[in-house]
Structure formats: C-alpha cells, structure tokens
Amino acid sequence: MANLKVQFGSITMKNPLVMASGTFGFGKEYGQLYDIERLGGIATKGLTLEKRSGNTGMRIWETPSGILNSVGLENPGVEAFIKEELPYLNNLNVVKLVNIGGKTLQDYVDAIAMVSKEKADMIELNISCPNVKEGGMAFGITADSTRRIVRAARNATQLPLVVKLSPNAEDIVKAAVVCQEEGADGITLINTVKAMAIDIDKRKSIFDNMYAGLSGPAIKPIALRMVHEVCKNVSIPVMGVGGITTWKDVVEFIMVGATCVQIGTANFIKSTIPLDILEGLEAYMVQEGINSLEEIRGII
C-alpha cells in the first residue's frame, strides 16, 4: 500500500497536496463540491491587517497554458477572517496555512501576531505578490529586505513559518538561504510571475494595474528549476508551486526536492482535480513499488 504521508518540518500531512493561496478562497466553496478533507492542506487567500477591496478593472486574462491575474489581494482583513472564516477551516482535518501579505513591516507583524493567537497550523508569509504596488513583492526582491521581513515575522510568531518567495527575486537561492538563516521553517515557491497583456484596440494594458501575475502550466518549467536550485542549497523543506496539473507534475516536483506541492490554477480546470492527482499519484507509487515519497525526493 502506497503511503502518501509527508512530513513538512514539524507538521505531518496526510498527502503532499496543499491548495495554493488565492485559488481556494477559505475552503468553503470547494467544500460544497467535494470532500476537501482528502487534501493535505489549504493555504488561505492572502490576508492583510486591514480589509482590501483589490484592484479595479479586468482581473483575469487567459494566455496560452496559463492565466494572468490582477486580484490585488482583495480580502476581508485578518480580524474578519478570524471571526468569519477560520472556524470553518478549523473544523476540517487538513493542515491550515494562513497566508499573510502586507504594505509595511508593521502591518505584517501585527497581522501575524493576531493570527498566532488562534488555532492555525502555519503562517505562509507572502512577500511575493506582484499585484499590489505598495508592497508585498517589494520585500521579496532583494536578500536584504527578505531578511528584514523574515526576521520580524519570526519574532512575531511561534507557529511554523513558511516564506513564499517570488520568482521575481533578484537571486532566488540567496533569498531562500536568508529565510533559513532567519529561522523560517520552510519555503513556498513560486508565486506568480510578473507579466502583462495588451488590448491593442484600446492601445492599453489589459490591467488597470499595468502588470499582473502569470500562473498555470506556462510557468511550471520555471518553478521546477527554481525549486531544484533552492532544494540544493537549503535544508528546510520546500513546497513546490507553479502549474501543477497532473500527478506527473507532482512527481517531477518531488524528484527535484520538494517535500510537498501546492495546486493553484489547476483548480480552475476542474474543481475535483486534486482528487484525480491523488488517485494518479497513488497508482504510480503502487506500480513503481514506492512505499514513501521519501524514496524519490530530491533524486535529481
């Protein structure tokens, strides 16, 4: 019998599939469509200290094998999340990652401190959102700013801290090493790739915010390369994200060293796609005589 269980630092997950932030809301909607307790984990929509109404104008654009999104961290704010959304999540037997974004260092620290008083399994520190001008990704670009924010976040919480890095970072390996040095418990990578699309009739960007974030199969090869590079250089566990759509994609990410993976855009292809992936993964392990994903992790 194949065992899909994975150990991410101190956290045990029943399988390596975590739903990526921003593509799964706070779980409720998908929970009405299928048994989401079969998932390994759920990362919440990115939360900020204060409520945000997000970007105006077009927020989604389909591209070959991908999508561009310009949601701009619309969210109810941490307090409303704790009151209205967290109870539902806490009733579920899945690992909960609370994804936190912010404008200023202090915003991050305050939001993290608030969440840390509640029952949550991990903080996912989002320093990689390309869709808000004033922050988020700015922290994830240079190693110095990454260090500052991770240090502050580390001091603000006892919960396991996972840092979500940006493919737009100057040096992804350096950023990851800094996270490890500052006491992060793990790394999620990658967030969306800063990109754009043009409306030639209007002679303007499709997006009010000019740029947007590219996700989906189009970015998978980039994500895979980055996860490989990072896994070679840090000892803390990594969640691989970017374009994962099939069980084969999961195997690829595990082979380059990821401990678990996140499924984002693929949820939009078919709501129950994670279940197809789980089924395929299990069949693959049985066929290959693999008892634990540990056997193929980081073999490349």
Binding site: G22, T23, F24, G25, E29, Y30, Q32, L33, K45, S53, G54, T56, M58, R59, I60, W61, E62, P64, S65, G66, I67, N69, V71, E74, G216, P217, T245, T265, N267, F268, I269, K270, S271
Partner: protein
C-alpha cells in the same frame, strides 16, 4: 462527462446544443463548460437555456477559441460541465417583462418558461432585440402572449417600465443600463444579468468582481443577477 445529443447552428455563428443527463438549475444560473482537457485553461460560463427531464441545453455564440471548440462538437461527443452556479433570477410576481438583446436571449428562454408557468405571475411580456436575425423566436412565442422583436435599433424603446412590476434583462451592458435608467422612478424593479470573465466559477478566486453600491460582489456567486440599482448609477 456528459454526451452531446445535438449541436446545431441555428443562426450565423450561434449554436443550440443539447446535452444528455439529468440536470438541475434555476433560471439565470449557469454552468462551466469545457470539451477539451487542459488547454485552453479555463472553462466557459454558459447560461442554462433550457432543462428537460433528461437533457440540458445551451444557446451560445461563437466568440473565440473556447466557443469554436464547443461549436465543433458532434452528437455523441463528450462535454465536461460543472454547475449550476450563480444566484439566478428571483421568483417574481405580478406583471413581468423579459428584455433580451442578442445572445442575451440565452438565459431568458428558461426564465420565460419558469415565469410563464408560475401562478404568481399575472402577465408576462417578452421583448427581444437582435441585430439581424431573431433567435429561437418560435420557442419564445410559445411561452407568452406578447413577444415583440426589434431588429437593429434599440429594443429598450419598446418597453414601458410603468406597465410592469418587474423587468428582467440580459444583453449588452449598454442596453441593460439604458433600460435600468429608463425604469428609474417607474413602477418596475429591474434585474440585470452581468457578465465577467471567470476562473473558478464558484466564488473562491475573486477574479469576477463587480462593484456595487454595497461593495464588491462576485458575479459567479453573488450574481450574475443583480438589481439594476445596485450596479448602475441612476
């Protein structure tokens, strides 16, 4: 996976597709459709055009890559669909008008069927505007005593809002907005069906936002049907 019963071009670039199976859904709700595996990435939101005991049908206009693929489906081919999603039109009573523009007529047939058979509805009139060729006219005519069609020009000119308690409309944004504005101060409450590009279709990803008087709403979940006064400035 569901099987295609038929997929006919009933007007230039406009298809009526029937799909086998037992489906549920209220008037104004939609399904997310795809007849391909992974590419194009997103499923296409298409309104319920009609539901019978053992089939559901969709009326759609070929717009781009996805609807071209749908238009190529033959009897017996497979389609993946998820739904029904969205709030749909509310149950109405009294005097009701249905106003459609172009392919906006698609959800209104199922609405006309439901409202036409409701004992609460005293009177149902249907107004349809098309650029050239009317869509499903005979089918609509079987559902209401009065069906008025405008070819070219502006269908909203035919509608007197003071004759109605409720108006439901789907069509080009400019048409719906004009109709709403015309109704301000009249006896009629106007419900409009809004379009936005969608990804999840169920309210989880926040890409389909519509700004309303009571804040951001998700068109896929809180809509696609909104009160005109919520989305348009009167």
């Amino acid at each position: 996976m569901a099987k295609i019963i038929s997929n006919r071009e009933i007007a230039p670039d406009t298809y009526l597709m029937a799909v086998q199976g037992k489906y549920s859904g209220k008037m104004g709700q939609f399904y997310m459709l795809r007849s391909w595996r992974f590419y194009p990435l997103l499923s296409r939101p298409i309104s319920i055009h009609d539901i019978n005991d053992d089939s559901i049908s969709f009326l759609y206009r070929v717009a781009g890559e996805g609807t071209v693929l749908l238009s190529q489906l033959k009897t017996g081919d497979e389609l993946h669909l998820e739904g029904p999603f969205g709030n749909g039109f509310p149950e109405l009573k009294g005097k009701v008008a249905i106003v459609g523009g172009g392919i906006g007529a698609a959800p209104l047939y199922y609405a006309a069927k439901a409202l036409g058979s409701s004992s609460e509805v005293e009177n149902l009139d249907i107004y349809l505007g098309f650029r050239e060729e009317p869509l499903r006219l005979e089918a609509f005519e079987a559902l209401a005593n009065k069906v008025r069609v405008q070819l070219g020009g502006n269908v909203t000119e035919l509608v007197n809002p003071n004759s109605y308690d409720y108006i439901i409309t789907c069509g080009p944004e400019a048409m719906m907005e004009a109709l709403y504005k015309k109704s301000v101060g009249s006896s009629a409450k106007v419900y409009v069906s809004i379009e936005r590009h969608m990804a999840c279709g169920i309210g989880a990803c926040l890409v389909c936002t519509c700004e309303t008087k009571s804040g951001n709403k998700k068109v896929c979940k809180d809509g696609p049907v909104f009160l005109g006064e919520e989305v348009y400035h009167g």
